[in-house]
């Protein structure tokens, strides 16, 4: 299997989908400049630079999607999506419903986020929960090169608006990507490590932190299962619940702020539907309720690291260590 970086996997997915389906096109600020090879291959009409205007970029995508095209837009960094919220949420997310099903919105809105580039809170804001909370929208946030490729292809083929997040820190991480047509269905989590004692659920860069924590936990005799959600909406509730019902313990980990984050949703899901199987308190590890700092030292402190995940996992097991006193 060839080894690609995440950025290369994304490039491959886009190129393949442009080649496969004439209705696919891509635009955004600097898209044509940065993807000059695609312009040469597919023409200036299908790979376009835009003005600096995220609202109309996203609106144009929604309008085009509803009328026969399958646009992919690059909104650059997640905080810039604040300018696109009407188009994504009110138009792409709602106009299918509002119109009684007359339109569909096959479009993908890409954005980067996450700690790693010390660019500060106006470039780094893990706001994926906004879109999970909003109706009519799917949300993808992979962690491996293979999934970036396979899920982006699936997103482009999906008939719904998909917000596709790229954790910046993963861009240059390499991974094996299957040869040939590789499509990963939306809505399916991946169990990256099997375990019996505790379920670690995560997505994006903190998946690796969970795998590291699981390795460490193994040395302490704790068998941790690691689930990479990959798609945040639709959420693979079955995979999560099956695992928690088996292990009886749940730790959810992500970089986004805790309050009303994806971790809250998963913890709530377990408390509702796997309650009978729970053997200990649920734990969430998440970014603080604070904007992302720029300074490298602080930026790294923002992200839940493996050691903290180990501690959290152990704290769900009163038999291993005492449960911290509840305030």
């Amino acid at each position: 299997m060839p080894t690609l970086t995440v950025f290369e996997a994304i490039d491959a997915a886009i190129a393949e989908e442009l080649a496969r389906d004439e209705r696919v096109l891509m635009f955004g600020e600097g898209v044509a400049t940065k993807r000059a090879d695609l312009v040469a291959r597919f023409g200036a009409g299908r790979v376009r630079n835009t003005p600096l205007a995220e609202a109309v970029i996203a609106g144009t995508a929604a309008g085009a999607a509803a009328t026969g095209l399958r646009p992919v837009i690059d909104l650059l960094f997640a905080p810039f999506m604040t300018y696109s919220m009407d188009a994504i949420v009110n138009s792409a997310g709602k106009l299918r419903y509002i119109s009684g099903g007359q339109f569909r919105f096959p479009m993908v809105a890409m954005a980067m986020t996450g700690a790693g580039w010390t660019v500060g809170a106006q470039h780094n804001h893990n706001n994926e929960a906004w879109f999970v909370h909003s109706p009519g929208i799917k949300v993808v946030m992979p962690s491996t090169a293979a999934d970036f490729k396979g899920l982006l292809k699936a997103a482009i083929r999906d008939d719904n608006p998909v917000v596709f997040f790229v954790d910046m820190a993963l861009g240059h991480v390499r991974g094996e990507v299957p040869d040939g047509e590789h499509v990963v269905p939306l809505g399916k989590a991946a169990v990256l490590r099997r375990g019996r004692d505790v379920t670690l659920v995560s997505y994006a860069k903190t998946v690796q932190h969970c795998l590291d924590a699981a390795a460490e936990l193994a040395t302490r005799g704790v068998s941790a299962e690691v689930i990479d959600l990959r798609t945040l909406k639709p959420l693979d509730e079955e995979a999560i619940l099956a695992s928690v019902r088996r292990t009886g313990r749940l730790v959810v980990v992500h970089e986004a702020s805790k309050l009303c984050g994806v971790g809250a949703e998963i913890a709530a899901l377990a408390g509702e539907q796997a309650y009978a199987a729970l053997k200990g308190p649920i734990r969430r590890l998440a970014g603080p309720d604070a904007p992302a700092p720029s300074s490298h030292a602080l930026e790294q402190a923002f992200v839940p690291q493996a050691a903290a995940i180990v501690d959290a996992a152990l704290s769900t097991m009163p038999s291993v260590v005492a449960e911290p006193a509840l305030s």
Binding site: A53, V56, G63, A66, G68
Partner: protein
């Protein structure tokens, strides 16, 4: 009968249909049977004059104040009223209500009540037409208020750069909900913003349906031949309140009276009588026919069932 007269009579009938539709909804609202709506009373000439200038393959985007555009395009008032009343037989199965009725089959797509939403979507609709080699141009109706939203400019800039064949129609009705245009818009006219983008444009008396129609035909022709955007501003007036019920207490009585005297239906009636020699009772008959159609429409809507509870979660995902 000469062509101008035939056309004017057709306009007249359409305008009456719109007026009757809006007045019926006002009555239903006052009776507690219908929710409030944004009526297009006073703006019938703008809608009829422009829409009559479009071809069947042209596409239309509109906004919260869309009844006139829809009816001018030939939408069935019965299904529109059913939609307003939240019935399953409405164009959008009752999920829209009055504020965002789309009728894809008529080419009236993606109606949004977010002021400016239509302006953010129109570029994409036009792009599809162009890239998929579909015939026709795309027309977008928006208000003077929408021209104060930044998206108006983003849309114009993109349309100019990407050479999109869009007919922008600014319906400047002097009001932006409860704020007079003067208080909210530094430019005297919306059309002033077109030139810096290299977009041609003009403004026209929006209460004279024939003037609107001529201007719209010319504008559409420019869009068709240049395959580039054009901005047509239609100067008119919102004769009723923003959203029913609305006592218009905040409206300057004199200004309102001035525009009431220029009611587009009355202006056209006068012209039909004076220029074309149509008898008053003939005109009354037209009005009567329109009202009768609307009564039937209301009866249909009121007799229609509410949507099934299961519809709550259908049409969310494709």
């Amino acid at each position: 009968m000469n062509e101008a007269k035939t056309k004017a009579l057709a306009h007249f009938e359409r305008m009456h249909l719109i007026r009757a539709y809006e007045e019926k909804l006002v009555a239903l609202q006052q009776a507690g049977t219908a929710a409030g709506t944004c009526t297009s009373v006073g703006q019938e000439a703008a809608a009829v004059g422009v829409v009559a200038a479009l071809a069947p393959e042209d596409t239309i985007l509109t906004n919260h104040r869309s009844a006139a555009h829809l009816l001018a395009r030939g939408a069935n008032p019965a299904r529109m009223m059913a939609e307003v009343l939240g019935r399953a037989t409405g164009y959008c199965k009752g999920k829209s209500g009055s504020l965002h009725i789309s009728v894809k089959d008529l080419g009236v797509v993606l109606t949004s009540t977010i002021v400016g939403g239509e302006l953010s979507l129109v570029t994409g609709v036009s792009l599809s037409k162009t890239m998929l080699h579909e015939p026709g141009i795309t027309t977008v109706f928006f208000g003077d208020g929408a021209s104060c939203e930044g998206i108006f400019h983003e849309s114009l800039n993109l349309a100019a750069l990407w050479k999109l064949p869009i007919l922008y129609v600014a319906e400047n009705n002097q009001w932006q909900a409860f704020v007079h245009r003067r208080e909210a818009m530094a430019a005297e006219q919306v059309v002033a913003h077109a030139a810096p983008y290299g977009i041609p444009g003009r403004s026209v008396d929006g209460n004279d349906v024939e003037a609107v129609h001529a201007a719209a035909r010319q504008a559409a022709e420019v869009v068709r031949t240049t395959q580039r955007p054009y901005l047509l501003e239609v100067l008119t007036y919102r004769l009723r309140g923003h959203f029913e019920p609305d006592d218009q207490a905040y409206v300057d009585r004199e200004e309102l009276a001035r525009w009431q005297a220029r009611d587009p239906i009355r202006l056209l009636a006068d012209r039909l009588r004076e220029r074309d020699g149509v008898e008053a009772h003939e005109l009354a008959l037209v009005a009567e026919r329109a009202r009768a159609r609307i009564e039937d429409a209301a009866a249909f809507a009121l007799a229609s069932p509410m949507p099934d509870a299961a519809e709550l979660t259908t049409d969310v995902y494709a």
